[in-house]
């Protein structure tokens, strides 16, 4: 029982240390044990619990539990467990440690009661998660990781600045800032918006997630954006701007996903799209909508991790990640197809899967909040979700024209266990929605399984399938990437930066050359200080008293050398000695007096 006296983030941090230090089998045991302990610790937390640690002059509220933070804590520790199982075969200690620290950071943010604690854990998440990208070891991952880190540093610093301003204004505890304004409000909102991947600040996600390791992208898909959703629900409920930001996200994601060729980038665009529903829910701000956003985040973490696991298994087995290189591999990996399909049906909102019971709350909340346009546009986004995740990806990755040969590696058992566990929960929550609804922060009066809802969903999905089937000959896949807002910092900004570096380099080189020239020219004058006087005399003195006055034909008579000619008179030396002596004495006199 004593484990329940520890902060869940501390348990995962201990797990990270264990994963980094323990050998072979013990490490694998610790990778299962510590996330399980963290899950147990979160489940045992009673809403209303607060742990305060006085440090110097401030009171750090490291843990503050209510229904909202608890439900996010449960799903974060649960997915840390599933993703760790999925990653058990990885021998890289650093990767395990980074993944668990990243998960610990997310729990730290969720349970943070004051702004300072929140910011510290927030920053720790971006620093640890970047290693999940870098450990892939490809040049593309390295540069994508640096871009990821830079964007997050920008967002994190904006958040920090906002928090400093807010604390300076007398605030301390994390709570709603809705209805506020001023620089603290906007800076904090900007920091959250970067992590929530709200366009045009979303490109870090679709840039970096597909370049991460196979197992790392499962962790990445779960935490960063959903932590931002949690903070948006907690801090900015009912901020009207977010409703439309969310709707735009939902549609933006599906359009770009449809064009995408890299399977994990396609899934990453659907993170943007799905998080759009949650952001819109936070923006509506009614209890119904906030419940919907929370429930959808819970479902989304499960099915999105499952989708990334499925795509990861394909990449692991075939070594390929583009639709133009895949296809026709379903018979080599039937279980992966089944698990992936469960994830795909969940995200698409097919009845009896968990997306159906949570996405519909957000859509219904838009209707209840008298926003018909938002409701219809979100329905349209779910058409696009079914289109690219279930139909396009399933068809071109597993069935369709075979471009891939036999898989090259055998998928390890633990990957199947991770996928299976997530699949089971996707179905269980879909069949028994009360399991999720009872955990939500507000009382929920909603029944997903009505005739009207089932009928409208079935019609929507069938019609989408019909449209896909009709246009299939035109759809195809091409080996392309799509320009997105990362173009601005990968092309024009990169060129500008290169120009600046070049200009600086030119100034540096030029001044070095000029300096060398000056030094070379002045070297004789250092050897012989009186040379300067002689040169000056040659330049000016010769005109006033030209040599050879007596006659043009008479040759200039060289003066015999006279050493006294170049000496200072003794009086000059005596004069300066007197001046310095006088100054010294008067200084002493002044300071003593």
């Amino acid at each position: 029982m004593s484990v329940f006296l520890f902060h869940p983030a501390l348990i995962l941090t201990t797990g990270a240390i264990a994963a980094a230090t323990l050998p072979g089998r013990l490490r694998r045991v610790s990778l299962v044990v510590f996330p399980s302990l963290a899950l147990a610790a979160v489940l045992s937390l009673e809403p209303g619990t607060t742990w305060v640690y006085p440090v110097l002059t401030v009171k750090l509220v490291l843990l503050k539990v209510d229904a909202l933070s608890k439900v996010f804590g449960v799903i974060f520790s649960l997915i840390a467990l599933f993703a760790s199982i999925y990653a058990l075969h990885i021998r890289n200690r650093g990767e395990h440690a980074a993944a668990l620290l990243y998960a610990a950071g997310s729990l730290g943010v969720v349970f943070a009661g004051d702004w300072l604690t929140l910011v510290v854990f927030w920053e720790s998440m971006s620093i640890t998660s970047v290693f999940l990208i870098w450990y892939r070891g490809k040049p593309r991952s390295l540069s994508a990781g640096f871009r990821y880190l830079l964007v997050h540093t920008l967002g994190g610093n904006a958040l920090l600045a906002g928090v400093v301003l807010y604390i300076a204004g007398g605030g301390w505890e994390v709570g709603s800032l809705a209805g506020g304004s001023g620089s603290a409000f906007w800076l904090i909102l900007f920091g959250f918006a970067v992590n929530a991947a709200i366009p045009p600040l979303h490109a870090w996600l679709t840039d970096a997630y597909p370049e991460a390791t196979v197992t790392g992208s499962v962790f990445l898909s779960a935490f960063t954006t959903k932590v931002a959703v949690y903070t948006l629900i907690r801090v900015f409920p009912g901020v009207e701007l977010l409703v439309w930001a969310g709707v735009i996200m939902a549609l933006y994601g599906v359009v770009f996903a449809f064009l995408e060729n890299n399977i994990r980038r396609l899934l990453a665009y659907h993170i943007v799209s799905q998080v759009g529903y949650m952001v819109a829910a936070a923006g509506m701000g009614t209890a119904f909508a906030l419940n919907g956003g929370t429930a959808h985040a819970f479902s989304h973490i499960l099915y999105k991790a499952l989708l990334f696991m499925g795509a990861g298994a394909v990449i692991y087995a075939t070594g390929r990640e583009k639709l133009t290189d895949l296809g026709g591999i379903a018979r080599y990996m039937p279980w992966v197809v089944i698990f992936y399909t469960i994830g795909a049906f969940s995200i698409s909102g097919v009845p009896f899967f968990n997306g159906f019971i949570s996405k519909s709350i957000v859509i219904a909340a838009a209707g209840a909040d008298r926003r018909p346009l938002v409701e219809l546009l979100l329905e349209l986004a779910s058409v696009g979700t079914f289109l690219s995740i279930s139909l396009k990806l399933l068809y071109f990755m597993f069935f369709g024209p075979a471009r891939a040969s036999r898989p090259v590696s055998k998928i390890p058992l633990n990957m199947y266990v991770g996928m299976g566990a997530a699949s089971v929960l996707c179905i269980v929550f879909g069949l028994f929605p009360a399991l999720l609804y009872n955990q939500l922060p507000y009382r929920l009066y909603y029944e997903p399984y009505t005739v009207d809802h089932l009928v409208s969903s079935v019609q929507l999905l069938l019609a989408t399938a019909a449209g896909f089937w009709l246009l299939l000959p035109k759809i195809g896949v091409k080996n392309t990437i799509s320009l997105d807002t990362d173009w601005f910092y990968r092309r024009p900004l990169a060129v500008l930066f290169q120009r600046l570096v070049d200009a600086t380099h030119r100034v540096d080189r030029g001044s070095e050359q000029a300096g060398t020239l000056i030094l070379e020219a002045s070297k004789p004058y250092f050897n012989n200080p009186f040379l300067a006087a002689e040169r000056l005399n040659e330049l000016f003195g010769s005109r006033s008293a030209p040599r050879g006055l007596p006659g043009k034909s008479e040759p200039v008579r060289a003066q015999p050398y006279d050493e006294h000619r170049y000496r200072f008179p003794l009086g000059v030396t005596v004069f300066w000695v007197m001046v310095i002596f006088g100054l010294t004495v008067s200084l002493i006199w002044i300071y003593q007096g």
Partner: protein, 75 residues
């Protein structure tokens, strides 16, 4: 053969959903006119699907899509 099976099943399910909508739905819960109109979501889904596919295709081919190695120096 398989395709025809799929079409038949799809058409039957669609028909079933329309019947269910007409006879078993609860229009008193509806908030907007489209929620009481039978078959609205089938039409909406179909048109939405075509609009999304064609819109994305046009957007992609005219503007957004570049060769895979665009950022590595290709065009």
């Amino acid at each position: 053969m398989r395709q025809r099976m799929g079409l038949v099943v799809g058409a039957l399910v669609l028909l079933g959903s329309l019947i269910a909508e007409v006879f078993y739905s609860h229009p008193e819960h509806a908030e907007y006119w489209w929620q009481t109109m039978p078959g609205f979501f089938a039409v909406f889904g179909f048109i939405g699907c075509l609009v999304l596919i064609l819109g994305a295709k046009i957007l992609g081919s005219r503007w957004l899509q570049r060769h895979d190695r665009y950022y590595e120096g290709g065009e």
